[in-house]
């Protein structure tokens, strides 16, 4: 079939302008395919990083114990112990599990935390806050607190607190000043503001306070254990699988971020579907373009096909000549389009350096290999009809033309 490939190549090079036009058409289709892949992929990554980038990808929370029912020997209920609202459930053996969770592949960071509610008081002003106690040194493990600091230091030590900018403004606080924090357990601590952060998330900046894990133990009367473990992954899309693995390893109720994020996932899926449609249309355009050009070529070369058949070329040989032309056009157009797509995406900032106001293109999600492969397959499929038509050419009629 090497010889059929030579004939196919010669046919393509014989009419350079027509072939160049055809390859350009295919390349434009591939370019659109790659551009859409990079845009849809980049957009999805951008939305995900903006919505779940700063939250825990997998969370393990202590299960609140069921209230005890005390039953008398006669079968009558004597006492019902109500679920304590102020008490925080405890992962008592967290220290045992942490090293194990950290060895799970794909886990980037693990942050044991004690969380609870409280009131911040400064003078006559009082604000309700959500308090998170984290281990010193792991302040930025989940939320990039260090990256969001606007004033002061992210370091959390004994007697120190870090607040959101809105909350600090509400209380007219600046770094170095003291304030009083009363926990939901009724414990009161006087703390020094060591830093102020701003994430751009109103809920976070206006009602969140970070303290050290030891401070939180005092505040929430939790001498041992933690109330939750937050886990950050290298790939947030692997959350479901990794959560299953952690569950299997530890028996703890590891919950991936995708639980409860159905609407976000639906929106991302709808966006991906739109991308698939656009890419499919680009491929269909390529297939129609290649098929019509090769059909025209088949008609124009009927006498030559007749001669080849008379000289002993079989139908399979003729089919291969035209299918090879389709494959070569697909390959040349695919590679050209992929190269153009890559070059066109180069000026866009990378995912990490994305600036608001520009398209969130992700050059790594161009699907270059897929685009080239699908284009070659599409072009081969497109050439089958013209090839079969060529193979059916009656040599007697064709030679007489």
């Amino acid at each position: 079939m090497l010889y059929a490939l030579k004939i196919a190549t010669r046919y393509l090079t014989a009419n350079k302008a027509q072939t160049a036009l055809l390859v350009t058409g295919v390349a434009v289709g591939v370019f659109i395919f790659i551009f859409m892949s990079a845009l849809i992929g980049g957009l999805a990554e951008f939305i995900l990083s903006r919505t779940v980038g700063d939250i825990s990808h997998i969370t393990i929370e202590a299960e609140t114990a069921d209230p005890a029912l005390l039953i008398s020997p006669e079968g009558h209920v004597l006492v019902v112990a109500e679920r304590g609202r102020a008490r925080t459930a405890t992962l008592a053996e967290a220290a045992t599990w942490l090293p194990l969770i950290e060895t799970v592949p794909g886990v980037r960071a693990v942050s044991p935390q004690i969380t609870g509610a409280g009131f911040l008081t400064r003078g006559a002003q009082v604000s309700q806050v959500s308090v998170t106690g984290v281990e010193p040194g792991r302040e930025s493990a989940i939320l990039d607190l260090a990256g969001y600091m606007v004033t002061g230091d992210v370091r959390l030590g004994s007697g120190l607190i870090v607040l959101g900018r809105d909350l600090a403004d509400d209380l007219a606080l600046s770094v170095g000043q003291t304030l009083r924090l009363q926990s939901s357990s009724g414990v009161i601590s006087t703390l020094t503001l060591s830093g102020i952060f701003k994430t751009g998330n109103g809920g976070m900046d206006g009602a969140r306070a970070f303290v050290s894990l030891s401070t939180a133990r005092t505040l929430f009367s939790m001498p041992q254990g933690v109330s939750r473990i937050e886990i950050k992954l290298d790939d947030l899309n692997a959350a479901d699988a990794t959560a299953l693995r952690i569950r299997a390893l530890t028996g703890l109720d590891a919950v991936p971020w995708t639980d409860g994020a159905e609407q976000l996932m639906e929106a991302l899926n709808a966006q991906a579907q739109t991308g698939y449609f656009l890419k499919t249309f680009a491929l269909i355009t390529i297939v129609i373009g290649v098929a019509s050009a090769l059909l025209l070529s088949t008609y124009r070369r009927r006498p030559e096909i007749g001669i080849m058949r008379a000289m002993g070329a079989g139908r399979r040989f003729v089919i291969f000549v035209f299918v090879a032309q389709g494959a070569l056009i697909g390959l040349m157009g695919g590679v050209t389009g992929a190269a153009l797509g890559y070059l066109a995406l180069l000026p866009f900032p990378s995912r990490d350096a994305f600036q608001p106001g520009t398209l969130p293109m992700d050059i790594t999600q161009g699907s270059y290999g897929l685009a080239i492969t699908l284009t070659v397959i599409g072009a081969i499929l497109a050439s089958i009809l013209p090839a079969r038509s060529a193979a059916r050419v009656d040599p007697v009629t064709a030679i007489g033309q």
Binding site: A310, M311, G312, A313, G314
Partner: protein, 225 residues
């Protein structure tokens, strides 16, 4: 001499109903190996149809055709294609070269299509044939740039490439001037004498027929002489 091919009671009908045209009406013919024969007859007498059937490019409506001991009527398309490639060469009135290929590439085509590539041996034979046709200085010329006579000599070289037992030529000089026609016929005569290749040449030209040792006359779909 041994029998190369034999056809008996060949009928060929085109169309159906009132549009039916009976081109061959029971034609029988025997060609011996090494013959140089002219096929004469007026237009519409069935010469081209007979050549097409003998070239295995078309099957008759009825009749028998045996060449080199093989039944050409019963053979399928694949078998006929392979047989044609190995044993039959064609020279057409309008040379019918592949325009995007050089003279040498056109000549080696029948061997290359069988071997799957242009072997050095095939290229050597192609060069030898073109030299023999007086085209040594045109070997790498694009066929589209050759003159009519040169193209027809390339076509003769191509027909001889696989050393076929039979070469069918349909008006091979019909489109050439007298000098080119004589040159082509001289070459055909020389190859016939030296290699024993059988030629059946369809022509209207009595002078061309005069080159041949046998004249077969077809009229109204049967052999008349």
């Amino acid at each position: 001499m041994s029998t190369l091919l034999e056809v008996r009671e060949l009928f060929k009908t085109y169309g159906t109903g009132e549009a039916t045209t009976r081109v061959l009406r029971g034609l029988s013919l025997c060609l011996e190996a090494g013959e140089l024969a002219a096929l004469l007859g007026p237009s519409g007498s069935g010469k081209s149809t007979l050549l097409t059937i003998l070239g295995t490019l078309m099957k008759p409506t009825s009749g028998s055709y045996v060449m080199l001991g093989q039944d050409m009527i019963a053979a399928d398309d694949k078998a006929l294609t392979d047989f044609r490639n190995a044993h039959i060469g064609f020279v057409f009135q309008f040379h019918n070269l592949l325009p995007d290929f050089t003279a040498l590439e056109n000549v080696v085509f029948p061997t290359a299509v069988r071997e799957g590539r242009e072997t050095p041996a095939a290229r050597a034979r192609g060069r030898e044939l073109l030299s023999r046709m007086g085209l040594a200085d045109r070997i790498e010329f694009p066929s589209a740039n050759l003159s009519g006579g040169q193209k027809q000599r390339v076509a003769v070289a191509r027909a001889l490439m696989n050393s076929p037992e039979l070469v069918l030529a349909d008006e091979p000089t019909g489109n050439l001037d007298r000098d080119s026609a004589n040159q082509v016929m001289d070459l055909i005569g020389q190859i016939n004498r030296e290699e024993g290749t059988t030629f059946l040449i369809s022509t209207h030209d009595e002078k061309i027929a005069g080159f041949c040792r046998r004249q077969i006359v077809v009229g109204d779909g049967i052999m008349t002489g």
